[in-house]
Amino acid sequence: MDDLLIIGAGWAGLSAAAFALHLKPKAKIRVIAQGIGSLVVTPGWLSLLDSAQGEVLAAVRDLAARHPDHPYALAGAEALERAVRLFAQIGAEIELGYQAEPPLYNKRVFTALGSLQTPAILPYGYQGAAQAGERPLFVGFEGWRDYYPSLSGEPHVLIAPPIGARPWDLTPTDYARHFDQPPFRAEVARQVKARLNGATSVAFPAVLGLEHHAETVQSLQDRLGVPVFELPTLPPSVPGARLYNKLRRYLLDRGVRLQIGHPVVRGVREGKRLAGVEVAAAGKPQFFGARAVILATGNLYGGGLFSDDSGRVWEGIFDLPVQHNSDRQTWFSARMLAAEGHAVHRFGIRADAQLKPLAAEGAPLAENLFAAGHILAQPSESPSPFETAEGVALATAYRAAQLALTQP
């Protein structure tokens, strides 16, 4: 029997596991997920509240006060700060950056289309873009389908890195593996340096190393003599993959069981508690017993929630009631990129102040079941869930891990 069983391996699930290790180093922890979660498709930075103008943690406290049913509010006032501090501590250990010393202010990062995003916590790769007023040079790779520097802005160049004659397209991860090799970096730096032309920083697509990211960024900066930074790419997101790989090693080395590949399909009850969960494994279902369970399976994208053409929306494991509109025509705004977002973003399960998911009667489904991340519903007038994506995942993961490990 495990002390803690976490369902889901996205931002919320994996950080819940890491936080639990810190809260109780001897705990037996297991993560079960159908596939790898959101890390490998998100840009790898931490959005806590992208629209916050002043200190971010204060703005989040403010948000929580205004929306008592927001996941930030359910997680409690202290959760986010503790979570990001701990995350930064781990980030340093795994050599990816992610400094988060309060007071925190949103940073400016560029996208491949030259737009600005304003997340709060950055891995090394995005940090070079933080200064305003830079004149960056946007660098792309000749013949690469996944980045077009001409869409980022002026000045821009296409260089020809030494990749040989690859018969198939390279993915961002392929380039990142090349950048792990010092001779490759040196050649890239040589080509860029020749065309630097007074630029005060250099932007690359986010492929600067997979296993040796910090070293890659540092060595390029040393060679070019100006800050170097990354622009997020189409998935797979290398910054996300770096974090996933390093977190995986971090968790396995500390004895966490990481089971990616088979979905949890139901909970097994014992009175008012969950005795454990059942996994749809090869041949027969497998039962895993646990003292506490964290549900971190994500929203309609992540796989925690399902929908069909009749307008039904359901939670996949415990059949928890889902807060949603029943008229399918209202799920999405008329335009994909509508400023107001879409109603579906906020669909989710409801939980009490202990992050215990609520069953149909409004009482917690089980005393030892907790929810974290984007499976939680968000109130309709609150900021877009994209703005708080990682913040909500981390804060609720921290709180859920804390409650799960201390419950009787």
């Binding site: 790898i36 498709v41 990616i260 139901r266 041949g283 415990f318």
Partner: protein, 435 residues
């Protein structure tokens, strides 16, 4: 029980391509992509190409052949696409269109070679270590000269078992619960010691072990595209063993990938959807899975002695290092967690750590093919490097070809979990001894 969720729809392998969101998570995780230019990755050859495959025409794409079948893509896909299974089916159609390959036929039939070679063990063992012979095999057949071949034990597990059964007086009244042991070909011909240990561990825990007739799981045939023959093997197993499963008699095996074939591949790759197949799939266990299940019910004997009381040779190999554990891809595909790791954690003084590598590279017969050998070595490189960095001289892994490959490439001795469990129970088996 809480309301079950609806299982993913369209369970049939080819149709799972419909779920693909193109997210590239599989591409980023595939271990073959980073080490060769010839393979565009699981998304491309799997769900994407599948849209353009006509069930009635030969598949037009060759690149899928570089898929090793490790199955990591299927595991990491968050949306239920059976990528590896799609690839394996496409490879079979490709093989069919290409016609007969002597090399693949030989690799596919290792079950026969195991048994046929047993009487000639000394000669064969010598030949397989003889460089010019291996060179010739590579040049003429395309079987890599660098790949690690097992050694024939010179007797089979089954012959040992028969002798042992004959010698032992059968008590008239035996109230012990029964388990069926499924040994697989490798244990039978190359590593009977693993079978001997497994039998004794089960007996130590109060079971009566039986070893009914059984066939090769057919996995090597399946991964070499010989589906029709693989299905014949599958049918032999399902008809020989399904009945035990129905009677609630567990079938327990020590070859992690063979068991996965029986648990899942028969249905999802070979497309067998009959009752026997399902019954067997539900009734067969990996030995660690079975023992850990016992432990959870409080029925496992835990009279484990600490590492310091292990046989000296093993104790020396462990030293004061942590012991790396590689969960083979095929074992991850079971979806049963890491029961071997959980069991080994019960042994005092033993510190086993799971490696973060996905695949050791060998992928069954893949790494035995000359044109894929380099890929197999490069895929496993991070694992081998990590084992060397740790300085471990002993590692653990549940499937045989992976063990041989890791041992060859990392220099560590690689054992099956039952070998450590047996030592902890004080059970021994002499590799060479027939009795």
């Amino acid at each position: 029980m809480i309301e079950p969720r609806e299982l993913p729809y369209l369970q049939e392998t080819p149709f799972t391509a419909d779920h693909c969101l193109k997210c590239n998570i599989c591409t980023q995780a595939c271990p073959v992509v980073p080490v060769t230019d010839l393979f565009p990755g699981p998304k491309t050859v799997g769900p994407q190409a599948q849209r353009f495959r006509d069930p009635d025409l030969p598949s037009p794409d060759q690149s899928v052949d570089y898929c090793s079948g490790c199955g990591i893509c299927t595991l990491v896909c968050p949306h239920g696409v059976r990528v590896m299974e799609i690839n394996t089916q496409a490879k079979a159609k490709l093989a069919e269109a290409k016609g007969f390959s002597l090399r693949n036929w030989i690799l596919g039939h290792n079950a026969w070679w195991g048994v046929l070679g047993t009487p000639f063990a000394p000669l064969l063992n010598w030949a397989f270590r003889f460089k010019p012979f291996r060179w010739l095999a590579e040049k003429t057949l395309g079987i890599s000269a660098r790949a690690a071949f097992p050694t024939w034990a010179g007797y089979t597990f089954r012959s040992w078992w028969r002798k042992r059964e004959k010698k032992r007086a059968q008590p008239a009244e035996d109230a012990r619960p029964v388990v069926v042991y499924y040994h697989g070909c490798s244990t039978n011909s190359y590593e009977p010691r693993i079978g001997k240990l497994a039998v004794q561990i089960l007996e130590h825990n109060g079971f009566r072990v039986i070893v009914p007739p059984q066939a090769c799981c057919g996995l090597p045939l399946q991964s070499n595209g010989m589906f029709a023959e693989a299905r014949r093997f599958a049918r032999k197993n399902t008809s020989a063993l399904a009945d035990y499963a129905r009677r609630g008699i567990p079938i327990v095996g020590t070859a992690g990938s063979c068991i996965m074939a029986l648990k899942g591949d028969y249905e999802h790759i070979l497309g067998l959807h009959d009752d026997d197949t399902r019954a067997l799939a539900g009734g067969i266990y990996d030995i660690s899975e079975f023992l850990w299940g016992l432990h959870q019910q409080g029925k496992l004997k835990t009279d484990f002695r600490p590492v310091s009381a292990f046989p000296p040779e093993l104790r020396a190999l462990i030293g004061d290092s942590i012991v790396p554990y590689h969960a083979p891809c095929q074992l991850k595909a079971h979806g049963m967690g890491r029961p071997a790791l959980d069991l080994l954690d019960l042994i005092p003084e033993l510190r086993v750590v799971e490696m973060d590598a996905d695949c050791c590279g060998i992928a069954g017969t893949y790494g035995y093919k000359a044109e894929k050998r380099q890929i197999a070595e490069d895929v496993g490189a991070p694992l081998f490097r990590r084992i060397r960095e740790i300085g471990a001289r002993l590692a653990v892994c549940d499937t045989e070809t992976c063990r041989w490959h890791i041992a060859q490439m990392s220099g560590a001795r690689v054992v099956h979990p039952v070998e450590l469990l047996a030592s902890a129970y004080g059970i021994t088996a002499d590799e060479r001894a027939m009795i």
